[in-house]
């Protein structure tokens, strides 16, 4: 576990994640108070990454549950392995007849089989899914419940027992309590408002797009090979694009993709043509592309004007 907020920041930094003090405080609190964290914010700001880095920086195993519409207990918690049970009954047919030897009447035969019930409904035939895995894990773990907003409201209610008491109930086996309380991270893109009951059980962390300085630091950390000037320009452009009314606002991951792509192309500085060619790395809708292009034209014009007043040395970049 972490020893202090600074410790969180340091260990996250070692794993290439720049955690602001606010984020680090929430992580530290979660590890101290053993509370789940509900991370919200626009797509592409590193919500899922947060969980991954948390696991990595503690050396814990990460167990991930991806939510989707129609996800149910069977997929999330456990399932009985019917086929395996069936196979065992077939193999053990002889044994069953042994059990039934001397049984008088159907009732007694059924009773005898019923007495053996727990053989078939034991942990041997349970197929653990992510939630059960996290609860019964021998090692402490980080449980990521990704995009909880995609799951149905019923599933959310089902999670409540797990999140507040760290236990789950399998009717045939009874209640299973966690050996190690996992650190739980839930992420949501706000497609749907989470219920108050869920929110009450969680610490709430809202991650917004980073400001310029932060984003620049992230780019430098993740794409160290990128030219400093290029990184700065890309960040400036992306920051200004976020201010536009786009259908899908570019996230940090898009910024990184773009910087990587441009670096691969051996580019040191943005120019009009390149921007047009590579714009689809950051903007994903046709309408958005149009808007972004307008904005970028403006940007390049501004840069050109500024450079014009400086020196003539940058001629090669913009012609």
């Amino acid at each position: 576990m972490f020893s202090s907020i600074e410790d969180v920041i340091e260990r996250f930094a070692k794993n290439n994640y720049i955690a602001s003090r606010r984020i680090a405080t929430v992580i530290y609190l979660a590890s101290e108070l053993r509370k789940p964290i509900l991370v919200e914010g626009p797509a592409g700001v590193g919500k899922t990454d947060l969980a991954k880095v948390l696991a990595a920086s503690l050396g814990f195993e990460m167990i991930r549950l991806q939510c989707y519409e129609g996800l149910d207990e069977g997929k999330a918690l456990y399932e009985w392995e019917y086929a395996k049970q069936l196979l065992y009954t077939q193999i053990l047919k002889d044994k069953i007849s042994e059990v039934l030897v001397g049984a008088k009447g159907l009732t007694e035969a059924v009773d005898r089989i019923a007495a053996q019930d727990e053989v078939f409904f034991s942990e041997r035939f349970v197929l653990p899914r992510p939630l059960l895995k996290a609860i019964s894990s021998e090692q402490p773990s980080v449980l990521l419940i990704d995009e909880i907003d995609k799951a149905d409201a019923e599933f959310e209610a089902f999670l409540l027992e797990l999140l507040s008491d760290f236990q789950v109930t399998v009717p045939e086996l009874g209640t299973i309590k966690a050996k190690h309380i996992p650190l739980v991270v839930l992420t949501s893109n706000n497609a749907r408002e989470m219920s108050d009951a869920l929110k009450r059980r969680c610490l709430h962390l809202y991650i917004d797009f980073p400001d310029r300085a932060q984003e620049l630091a992230i780019v430098k950390l993740k794409v160290p090979e990128a030219a400093a000037k290029l990184a700065e320009e890309v960040v400036t452009v992306v920051q200004s694009l976020r201010k536009l009314d786009l259908k899908k606002t570019p996230g940090i991951s898009e910024t990184l993709d773009w910087v990587k792509a441009l670096t691969l192309l051996n580019v040191n500085s943005l120019d009009q043509e390149l921007v047009t060619e590579t714009l689809d790395t950051i903007v994903k809708y046709e309408g958005d592309v149009r808007k972004a292009q307008e904005e970028l034209k403006d940007y390049v014009r501004r840069v050109r004007a500024r450079r014009g007043t400086e020196a003539g040395s940058d001629k090669d970049l913009l012609n």
């Binding site: 907020i5 003090r21 606010r22 405080t25 929430v26 530290y28 609190l29 101290e32 108070l33 509370k35 964290i37 509900l38 919200e40 914010g41 129609g70 019917y82 086929a83 069936l86 149905d152 409201a153 706000n190 749907r192 408002e193 989470m194 108050d196 929110k199 009450r200 969680c202 610490l203 709430h204 962390l205 809202y206 009314d245 259908k247 046709e286 309408g287």
Partner: protein, 470 residues
């Protein structure tokens, strides 16, 4: 500290942030982990435990600033102002305060606690005293600006300001007889004067701050409510923006309800035949259950939206609503008309809301500068697009039914209704003007299943409620 946190939680609640008891308890334990010394961590701890909605974050930030640095900050600023007035540097001021303290030890035996703290610049103790007094006079009940004076006076009385005044006056008299340089004497005299004024200032600003605390959310709420009741016709630019948000939320709400409903009906009845067939492989033991698949009945909507001049502002909203609806259902066909009628489904699908609305309203699709002619539009719809309507379709007409004395052709609407599941007419005009002048509402209404006045957001909410219920 706990007391302060409870009070803060109450304050958040008063401003519309939902903080439960459990969350307040979490805030206790969280603040114990981070401690109070480091402000950012403390703030983050409260933020993570008490605020669970991104939309409530601004209120929290503002209140936190007011509450946790509020009074302390005011006292600090007041003291800074005194120092500035005496034009001393930090060092000089500190030295000067030491002198004052010495003097007080000698001369100020009969000074009250608060007066001493005031003169010695003991801000922590002062803050405590003032908060105590504020509780005594129930300052937290302040609501309106005009109450500021009253509470300021009450607080001053509670603190014993007049007594302090007298004490300081006495101190000045003693000062006269003291054997110190005249320059220092003047300085001290000015200091006493300023300090007294500073306390008055602190009280006033504190009272105002308390009032503001209770104001932040109130204003916002009032505003939204007002917009809700305000007719679509008279909205300012900023209100339009707010309204857009509200309409989107409305559509979202509709969507939530519909998704839950569709989910519930997903599984049909137990299907014996298919179950047996599927489980033949297991010797007829039914390991896998099969259910009849219900046919999904996809709701179909056809929208006819009047975009003539007379309803321009309203139709923008109606279109915004149409746009959100179209985002929501896969089978919505949207038409706009003035006299001509044109389909905008594709245009809405491919553009974002603002662009789509612009395209629809600038006359690229139909001539929007003509005089409205509902009859003509309906007849054209029946000839060209009647195929869009079948027995699963809900037809929604948005318009004021002002037909410029043209032929109403209400038989077209009857024809549409015969084919459709439901016809709903939303009229942005006030109900008591229907049927007067060139309004053909009376003629059209018998052919509709539901006719509603829909001239502001609250009414739109009600209509949506009814649609969802039906």
């Amino acid at each position: 500290m706990q007391e302060k946190l409870v009070e803060f939680a109450n304050l958040l609640r008063e401003n519309g942030v939902r903080v439960s008891l459990a969350e307040t308890l979490d805030a206790f334990s969280a603040s114990e982990v981070t401690g109070l010394a480091e402000r950012d961590a403390f703030r983050a701890a409260l933020r993570a435990t008490m605020v669970k909605r991104a939309s409530e974050l601004p209120v929290f930030e503002e209140l936190f600033d007011i509450y946790f640095s509020g009074l302390g900050e005011i006292i600090k600023q007041a003291s800074q102002a005194v120092q500035n007035a005496l034009s001393m540097s930090d060092q000089e001021f500190q030295k000067f305060l030491d002198q004052i303290e010495k003097m007080l030890q000698k001369e100020g035996k009969n000074l009250s606690e608060l007066a001493k703290q005031l003169l010695q610049n003991n801000s922590g103790e002062m803050e405590r005293k003032i908060r105590e007094a504020a509780r005594a006079v129930k300052l937290s009940g302040i609501e309106r600006t005009i109450e500021e004076n009253y509470f300021a006076r009450a607080l001053a009385r509670q603190l014993g300001l007049d007594k302090i005044e007298a004490e300081i006056k006495q101190l000045r008299e003693q000062l006269e007889q003291m054997d110190i340089g005249s320059e220092l004497k003047a300085k001290i005299e000015e200091y006493l004067e300023r300090r007294l004024k500073a306390l008055d200032d602190i009280i006033r600003r504190y009272v105002r701050m308390e009032r503001e605390k209770r104001d932040i959310k109130q204003k916002e709420d009032q505003r939204l409510n007002q917009i809700g009741e305000k007719s679509f016709y008279y909205l300012t630019e900023e209100e339009l923006k707010k309204m857009n948000e509200a309409v989107t939320r409305l559509a979202q709400r509709l969507k939530n309800v519909i998704t839950v409903r569709r989910k519930r009906s997903k599984k049909g009845r137990f299907d014996i035949k298919r179950t047996l067939r599927q489980n033949l492989a297991f010797g007829g033991v039914p390991f896998k259950l099969r259910f009849e698949k219900r046919k999904k009945e996809k709701p179909q909507v056809v929208i006819l939206c009047d975009v003539s001049d007379s309803v321009r502002n309203a139709s923008r909203f109606m279109l915004q609503f149409v746009y959100s609806l179209q985002d929501l259902y896969s089978r919505v066909r949207s038409f706009i008309f003035v006299a001509d009628i044109g389909e905008v489904t594709e245009c809405f699908r491919n553009n974002d809301a603002k662009e789509a609305l612009d395209v629809a309203l600038t006359g690229d699709i139909i001539n929007v500068y003509a005089h409205s002619n509902f009859g003509y539009a309906f007849r054209n719809f029946v000839t060209d697009h009647l195929g869009a309507v079948n027995k699963r379709t809900t037809v929604i007409v948005l318009g004021d039914a002002r037909n410029n004395y043209n032929l109403p052709h209400d038989w077209c609407l009857r024809e549409i209704r015969q084919r459709a599941k439901k016809v709903i007419w939303l009229n942005p005009e006030s109900r008591n003007t229907w049927g007067f002048g060139d309004s053909e509402m009376e003629r059209y209404a018998p052919h509709c299943d539901l006719v509603e006045e829909c001239r502001n957001l609250n009414q739109l909410y009600r209509v949506v409620d009814r649609l969802v219920a039906g």
